[in-house]
């Protein structure tokens, strides 16, 4: 009678992982397979991939996109690492406030920041002139805006990693070397995996970015793909061909991630991570404070310009222009974040516990994140845009699938980091008293790591809220999220209304992040 139950329980962990793997495969792998199938079957020489890719302009665009992504990555590292150091390890006054203000824009769609900078430096901007406008609408302007947008990712990862170093590693060096040498040779060396991860994320996001180059009219590769799916150059077959080089690029990025980051991104913190030493800046404290202030100003300036441009008139027109887009954003992002968190609990825990089956799922999720969003977007179109799946393609489910595929790695890795901090014995003790896997997951793993799980949900939610480049290729009519609404209105809508919608997006994200901060503070200070 209880035999099937026994068999089920014996393989419960594998079954959970298998179910999670199935969902991930449908969301992330299936679009890639369908895409590859279409590429292989398009063999007609006149219209096939070879014909499309024979154009020199295509390769020039790709080279330019790679150049922009490389420049943004290098500059973001050059600015973000020293800032991370100032915020995490020095006694610069006001560093935590400056860090929060500097980091906030990374939770916003980059093209909103471009819009904000436009209100400063566009021809009719607050500080605008013909010259500043020309500089803004150029490759240099694009790089500058992307650096300002993505540097907080480097800063945050560097600061987090510096805060997590076992202080004994630095103390052992302090016995023989001055603080500056310890910082450059030991601290920075020890956080190399975090810096590699930051570089990879910034490179992948820069390469995928569609909104900012479109707004600044800088021709890049993602714009070429987008134009063939919804613009004047409509030619879906060519779009499929165009993603071929990006697929190869995504695989190279995945190999780089496995080589330089891999499991090291969720290494266990040192036991005395709270006792880290602070570098006294002495007379350089003013310089440290000014650097923090400048970083905060760069983060806030475009947001201030948007709010200023919106004015009362803009804000009063928000209900008319917004439609259902805000509710679409919130509903779709909540649902996608919940699914990603559920998958993250199973896969992230397995990853932290070095289960063999977790590695390919993690690799697939990483591939979906580092590949340019247009590849995933075109794959999802090719997979789901058919009569048999019209019910899915025409509903918010398609947005949820797209976001789950793209951002699953965020929740998986966040939960893996949390689980890796606790000893395996806690789960083994539950197993020893006969608790099956599912119950251990619910009664031990989830309560123990509730903060990590909440953080994973929140991060996934915010990543979905800020997304434009994935969803813009396949959002269902009438179900567009707020970012898409702003992007499509930006070309022809009244500037005050567009700025007000952008301010609304900023307010929503600020509310979510502030709420999470308050909850985290309450959890720390409240009864345990």
């Amino acid at each position: 009678m209880d035999r099937p139950l026994t068999v089920f329980r014996r393989h419960e962990e594998q079954l959970y992982l298998g179910a999670a793997g199935l969902v991930i495969a449908v969301a992330a792998l299936l679009p890639l397979l369908v895409l590859c199938g279409q590429l292989v079957s398009s063999t007609a020489p006149a219209s096939g991939p070879a014909a499309t890719l024979a154009s020199a302009r295509i390769w020039l665009l790709l080279a330019r996109s790679l150049g922009v992504a490389a420049a943004v990555t290098a500059l973001a590292l050059g600015v973000g690492v020293p800032l991370g150091f100032i915020f995490a390890r020095t006694d610069a006054p006001g560093r935590w406030v400056a860090f929060a203000l500097h980091a906030f824009p990374m939770f916003l769609p980059p093209f909103l920041l471009a819009l904000g900078w436009f209100h400063w430096f566009g021809r009719q901007g607050l500080l605008g002139s013909e010259t500043s406008s020309r500089a803004l609408f150029s490759a240099g302007g694009l790089i500058a805006i992307l650096v300002a947008t993505f540097t907080p990712i480097v800063t945050s990862l560097a600061a987090l990693a510096l805060s997590a170093i076992d202080p004994a590693l630095e103390e052992a060096a302090r016995v023989v070397a001055r603080p500056w040498r310890v910082a450059t040779h030991i601290s920075l060396g020890a956080i190399r995996p975090a810096l590699a991860l930051a570089a990879l994320i910034v490179f992948a996001l820069s390469l995928s970015e569609l909104g900012v180059p479109t707004f600044l009219r800088v021709d890049l590769y993602p714009s070429a793909v987008f134009a063939r799916l919804g613009g004047v150059d409509y030619a879906p077959g060519e779009a499929v061909a165009l993603v071929l080089p990006l697929l190869g690029l995504a695989l190279i990025l995945l190999v780089a991630e496995r080589r330089f980051v891999g499991a090291r991104s969720f290494a266990v913190l040192g036991a005395r991570a709270a006792e880290r030493f602070t570098i006294p800046l002495g007379r350089w404290r003013v310089v440290g404070a000014l650097a923090g202030l400048l970083a905060a100003v760069v983060g806030l300036a475009p947001l201030g310009a948007l709010i200023g441009r919106a004015g009362l008139g803009g804000f009063s027109s928000v209900p008319a222009w917004m439609g259902g887009s805000l509710w679409n954003s919130l509903a779709e992002a909540s649902l996608a974040a919940s699914i990603m968190t559920a998958l993250g609990i199973v896969v992230g825990r397995a990853l932290a516990r070095r289960r063999r089956a977790a590695a390919p799922l993690d690799a697939l999720a990483m591939l979906a994140f580092v590949m340019p969003a247009s590849v995933l977007g075109v794959g999802i179109l090719a997979t789901w845009n058919r009569s048999a799946t019209a019910a899915i393609y025409g509903s918010l489910a398609i947005v949820v699938i797209g976001w789950t595929a793209r951002y699953l790695i965020v929740s998986t890795r966040t939960i893996a980091i949390a689980v890796a901090q606790s000893p395996l014995h806690l789960e083994e003790a539950a197993a020893a008293v006969g608790s099956p896997f599912g119950r251990r997951l619910r009664r031990i793993v989830m309560p123990l790591h509730r903060r990590g799980i909440a953080a994973a949900w929140l991060l996934a939610f915010v990543f979905c809220l800020r997304d434009l480049e994935t969803v813009v290729l396949f959002y269902p009519a009438g179900r567009e999220p707020l970012t898409v609404r702003i992007f499509t209105l930006e070309a022809n809508g009244p500037p005050a209304a567009v700025a007000a919608l952008a301010a609304l997006q900023i307010a929503v994200v600020a509310g979510v992040v502030a709420g999470a901060g308050v909850a985290q503070l309450a959890a720390r200070t409240g009864p345990r």
Binding site: A168, E171, A172, R174, V175, V176, A177, A190
Partner: protein
């Protein structure tokens, strides 16, 4: 060159708790002192005071004639004290190979490359680790990592060596081998050393003198033979915990 370590009326409070309370202690040049005490007695904090990671709230610390910390101030930062340290968790830098771990301090002191490499090779040979220069800490066994940590501390020829329970997680055989290595290295260099432990056996085997620390104060000190003649309450408790026959 070995140096005398001297602490005079040193006190330190962390938060509300007084971790070190009016402690005075002198370790003579070339002497090996075992600092013995239960967990939370302030042993590691005392090492951090001597190393210069925290200033004493009151009292003074001297290395030879140099006043290095006094009354809430660090007068000489850690890197200018020329002390060697072996941490409890070893603290080998995971991103540097064995050579890199040993070279870091020598480079910081601008030792010429040829001289640096010669000293590293000699030190590694001395701890039976020749040929491991290009291996990373993660690729070494537990015993090898312990020996790299010892070599890293000694390659700089420090004025004194501080050792913070580095053998606590090892099996009995490895612990005995490393104790013998420590003893040999300290004796051949005539080096002043403070060896922190909560294990009476280690203290008895390695040290010239033992100081018993309880709640931030030295409650008894002397050679092993002196202490075992007249064990105080703390030593009796530690021996009872061990249920162990003391060496004669």
């Amino acid at each position: 060159m070995s140096v005398e370590i001297s602490l005079q009326d040193v006190s330190l409070r962390i938060g509300q708790s007084e971790v070190i309370r009016g402690l005075s202690l002198t370790v003579a040049p070339g002497e090996v002192l075992a600092l013995l005490g239960p967990s939370g007695s302030g042993k590691t904090t005392l090492l951090r005071l001597i190393l210069g990671f925290v200033p004493p709230e009151a009292g003074s610390i001297r290395l030879g004639p140099d006043l290095v910390s006094a009354d809430g101030r660090i007068l000489r930062p850690p890197e200018e004290r020329n002390l060697g340290i072996v941490f409890q968790d070893l603290a080998l830098w995971p991103h540097l190979d064995v050579h890199g771990n040993l070279a870091f301090g020598l480079d910081a002191r601008r030792v010429p490359a040829a001289e640096r490499d010669r000293r590293i090779a000699e030190m590694l040979a001395r701890v039976s680790l020749a040929g491991t220069e290009r291996r990373y800490p993660g690729e070494l066994s537990g015993g090898e990592r312990q020996r790299v940590a010892i070599a890293r501390a000694l390659v700089l020829a420090p004025r004194a060596l501080l050792v913070d329970e580095p053998l606590s997680n090892l099996d009995a055989t490895l612990r005995r081998q490393l104790l013998e290595l420590f003893r040999a290295l300290l004796k051949e260099r005539g080096m002043t050393a403070i060896f922190v432990t909560h294990d009476v056996r280690e203290a008895a085997l390695l040290s010239d003198r033992i100081a018993l620390l309880e709640r931030g104060r030295i409650v008894q000190s002397g050679t092993w033979n002196e202490l075992r003649q007249k064990p105080g309450p703390l030593l009796s408790a530690l021996l009872a915990d061990l249920a162990w026959d003391a060496p004669s």
